[in-house]
């Protein structure tokens, strides 16, 4: 399996515009070695200073048979089977060959889906039980903090992680908060027990950059500015103008290597990587008119927006999102708490979907993320009420394939297809039913959650002593 390292050397050596990363074959273990010590080479001398140390957990070859497979890659396979081997999905179909050493699980007519993916999480950065000591999500000291990275706030002992795993979440993007115009880098994590955040980082996942529109930045910085939406836009543009100049300085130096290299600026390193196409923009933006403006800003400076987050008005510009290839990370059923969120409607997911753009159910909530399936069901119902039929085969993509795409990981996760990572959920019933729960959850073929084996359930360090041990219950 190939992993895309954040290697920019080849790209930067090309004649401008050097916009694509060079895919370098590497596996998870060499990921860490290859990217070290490139000091002085490019504007990101070491593009991966906090490399993933994730190793898949021990797994056994497993067959889950007699299940309905919502694959997110085609029509549901009724009464089919799936083979997990060496951390990958080896086969999916009406039947699969079960090797002699395989653990065979009879699903008894239950459902199997890909592991769910939440593009908008603050687990670890707003860890439970909250309070000043764990309030690490917003570096609200400056409207532009492109220099901060969410992973440096993530507390792996956040008790919200095991609860999300029990909700079927296998991958999540942890974002900085939305106080700032540019809030910092995201971290794409596997929902696994680990002593370190590096041990949770999804090997080879690109970073995201959090941007925020509208009310939050102008409220937080009212006294020093930006205090208005026009101030917000001026702030984004000023940041990108600086980043363009920074990138040019480094690209020029990389071409001729004459004289001392330009000095490094952490924030501009991140922004320059966005301009080079190596970091995805995840843009908190509620209103349709602001989304259109953010698209113009992206075009002005030559980057792409990968996903609008919250997007309660995405349905108003669904055609624009489809045309621009921008996904909508949205709620099925939340809005109203501020003026820019007033136009949230339940049919948002279905309307965006019907317009041909990628709908994603996101959570922005540690409790909501445990029920992305239920939210997708609401989105289907609201679509039906408006005359838009969304099949289960399509709606499952809202919580699997589409979020995988928005993280640039759709070649690895998000569907049940041979060759994909074995991130799999076995449900107690149809996942769109309010009564269904994940029974077992696998990540890279390793069963990390099993509702029937409560004693072995993952408890974080924090929970020991602080939180009553109720394993065997809901988690």
């Amino acid at each position: 399996m190939r992993y895309f390292v954040f290697a920019l050397m080849a790209a930067a050596a090309c004649t401008p515009p050097a916009t694509t990363q060079a895919p370098a074959p590497a596996n998870a273990s060499t990921d860490s070695k290859d990217s070290k010590n490139r000091a002085g080479a490019y504007s990101t001398p070491n593009d991966n200073p906090f490399p993933s140390s994730y190793k898949p957990f021990a797994s056994r070859t497993t067959v889950i048979r007699n299940v309905n497979l919502l694959t997110a890659a085609g029509p549901m396979v009724r009464g089919g089977a799936i083979l997990l081997r060496d951390g990958k999905i080896a086969a999916v179909g009406a039947t699969v060959d079960a090797p002699a050493d395989a653990v065979v699980i009879d699903g008894a007519g239950q459902y199997v889906t890909p592991g769910l993916i939440d593009t908008h999480s603050h687990l670890g950065v707003y860890a439970a039980p909250g309070g000043r000591g764990l309030d690490d999500g917003n570096e609200a000291t400056n409207p532009v903090t492109a220099h901060v990275w969410a992973e440096h706030s993530v507390w792996p002992q956040d008790p919200q992680f095991p609860r999300n795993l029990a909700g079927g979440i296998t991958t999540l993007q942890v974002l900085p908060g939305s106080a700032n115009l540019i809030g910092g880098r995201s971290a794409v994590l596997k929902v696994v027990p680990s002593r370190t955040v590096q041990g949770m980082k999804f090997p080879g996942a690109k970073y995201g950059l959090k941007m925020a529109c509208g009310e939050n930045p102008k409220r937080v910085y009212a006294s020093r500015g930006p205090a208005t939406r026009m101030g917000n836009v001026a702030g984004y543009r000023a940041a990108w103008i600086g980043a363009q100049a920074y990138r040019q300085r480094w690209d020029k130096w990389n071409n001729n290597k004459s004289g001392d290299p330009p000095s490094r600026e952490l924030g501009n390193e991140t922004l320059a990587e966005v301009l080079r196409g190596n970091i995805y923009i995840h843009n908190h933006c509620y209103r349709a008119d602001e989304m259109a403006q953010m698209i113009d800003i992206a075009n002005e400076f030559g980057y792409k927006i990968r996903s609008f987050h919250h997007g309660v008005e995405a349905y108003k510009v669904a055609d624009l999102l489809a045309k621009e290839g921008i996904s909508a990370s949205i709620w099925a059923d939340w809005g109203g708490f501020k003026l820019e969120a007033m136009d949230g409607i339940r049919s948002n997911l279905a309307l965006v979907h019907a317009a041909g753009a990628r709908s994603i159910v996101h959570s922005d909530d540690p409790s909501g993320s445990q029920r992305l399936n239920q939210e997708a069901a609401k989105g289907m119902a609201a679509g039906a009420a408006l005359g838009i039929t969304v099949s289960e085969d399509e709606a499952i993509k809202w919580i699997t394939l589409n979020p995988a795409w928005s993280l640039g990981l759709d070649d690895k996760i998000g569907t049940l297809e041979a060759g994909k990572n074995a991130d799999v959920v076995l449900w107690s019933g149809n996942p769109f039913s309010v009564y269904s729960k994940p029974e077992k959850v696998w990540i890279d073929g390793a069963m990390l959650f099993d509702r029937s084996d409560a004693k072995e359930a993952w408890r974080t360090d924090f929970e020991l002593g602080f939180v009553p041990d109720v394993r065997g219950g809901s988690r």
Partner: protein, 427 residues
């Protein structure tokens, strides 16, 4: 304007019922869940002049009745969400639309605060709840040590007076929230509560002396003490927002000391006190969608809370504790709470009761709402199937016998933008 017109119409109707043409509706063929009795297959609910007149398998349908075919559908009482700020908070970030918390001053006691009297009857948050089958709500104030009084409302168009089913239905207070009560320690909060109750009892006996300034100083205002008299007399329930097990213990102790009739609201760790709550006959209003140890008061949060409490014999009302502002924007999600309660151990029948009859009984309005029985207000929902399933749509909603039209902003926006670009003509 529409709301005003309807309000006017309703007032006329109430003032002179003889002028109103008898409106008779027969909902036929559905599976009926009266809640007060066993489900009825292929039953009929007969509605006249806003009230249910009969429910059963063999109801004679008058010739003039408008028939609503509910064959294959489920018919339930309108759902009740018993902990909301509907009409009190519209856009929570905009202070001008926030009216749920009194400025209680130094004493942090706002017992006289009748929150419903400042309710915005045209709040855009109301219609979506009603369209999704929530026909009644409790509106509760928040903040302070004593937050104020709560009311039970039907979500009809009209004035507050039209909406009120009963008010007040209880006094709301908080235990375990130091900042809100203006104290430095949990124990101090209990001292303050006792002081307020002692002052209330003293004031109740010595009103004349108080008017002549012949009493000691009291720690709350005259109006607040006056409002607390029914609480210390055990006539008005005290709804205590409290989560932590040790705080629930303290609440039980105070209730026993003063013979108070208390209810627990929130109760994240109530399951740890289930037997005590059952023995003390203290009801719990809680949700089934939160298992986050989100504060040091809720470390024991779990989704089985409601089911475990029921098993122990506690009276349980389901309220919202999931994401999505369950007391405003998400009021309609009370059925999702019920579904999750079932997924985590409550029986389906108990869950339906916990969002219909149980809250009606607790708040003294079960003669008006909460069941499908003759004489009750015709708050009736026809569902496409199991109301707790999120893919089930409420197909018809009747509120006091009147069909609810899907006229909310949310509906209008969806229709307007179904085709892009929108035409901007009447959707």
């Amino acid at each position: 304007m529409r709301a005003l017109r309807n309000a006017a119409a309703l007032l006329v109707a109430l003032a002179s019922p003889s002028l109103l043409e008898a409106q008779t509706i027969a909902i036929t063929g559905g599976k009926i869940y009266p809640v007060s009795s066993a489900p009825i297959e292929n039953g009929t609910v007969l509605i006249r002049d806003g009230k249910i007149v009969s429910v059963g398998a063999n109801v004679t349908i008058p010739a003039d009745a408008q028939r609503v075919d509910a064959t294959g559908k489920w018919v339930t009482p309108g759902l009740i969400n018993a902990a909301t700020t509907l009409g009190l908070v519209e856009v929570s970030q905009e202070n001008q639309t926030r009216d749920a918390s009194a400025n209680a001053g130094q004493d942090h006691v706002a017992a006289a605060f009748t929150v419903w009297e400042g309710l915005n009857t045209t709040s855009v948050m109301i219609a979506p709840a009603r369209e999704d089958g929530v026909t009644s709500v409790v509106v509760m104030p928040s903040g302070g040590l004593i937050s104020g009084q709560a009311a039970f409302l039907d979500l009809v168009d009209g004035t507050v007076t039209d909406m009120v089913v009963r008010a007040p239905i209880g006094m709301v207070g908080e235990i375990g929230n130091k900042a809100s009560a203006g104290v430095g320690a949990r124990g101090e909060l209990l001292v303050r509560l006792r002081e307020v109750f002692e002052d209330t009892k003293s004031y109740a006996k010595r009103k004349a002396d108080f008017e002549r300034a012949q009493t000691r100083d009291y720690s709350a205002s005259r109006l607040d003490l006056e409002s607390l008299i029914p609480v210390v007399e055990g006539l008005m329930p005290l709804l205590l927002r409290v989560d932590k097990a040790s705080d629930i213990d303290a609440a039980l102790k105070i209730a026993s000391e003063y013979d108070l009739k208390i209810m627990i609201v929130g109760g994240a760790e109530a399951w740890m006190m289930a037997d005590r709550l059952a023995a003390a006959k203290v009801p719990v209003l809680t949700g089934a969608m939160n298992n986050i140890p989100g504060s040091f008061s809720t470390l024991g949060s779990r989704q089985e809370n409601a089911g475990l409490l029921r098993k122990a014999g506690v009276t349980v009302v389901l309220i919202g504790n999931g994401p999505g502002d369950p007391d405003t924007f998400g009021v309609r999600n009370i059925r999702q709470e019920a579904g999750n309660a079932v997924a985590y151990g409550m029986t389906w029948d108990d869950a339906l009761r916990a969002v219909t009859l149980t809250p009606a009984e607790l708040f003294g309005v079960s003669d008006r709402v909460g069941t499908l029985q003759a004489g009750r207000a015709a708050n009736v929902v026809i569902w496409g199937g199991d109301p707790f399933e999120l893919r089930t749509l409420p197909e018809r909603v009747f509120l006091r016998g009147k069909a609810v039209e899907r006229t909310s902003r949310q509906e209008a926006l969806g229709r307007r933008y179904k085709t892009l670009p929108p035409s901007y003509r009447t959707p």
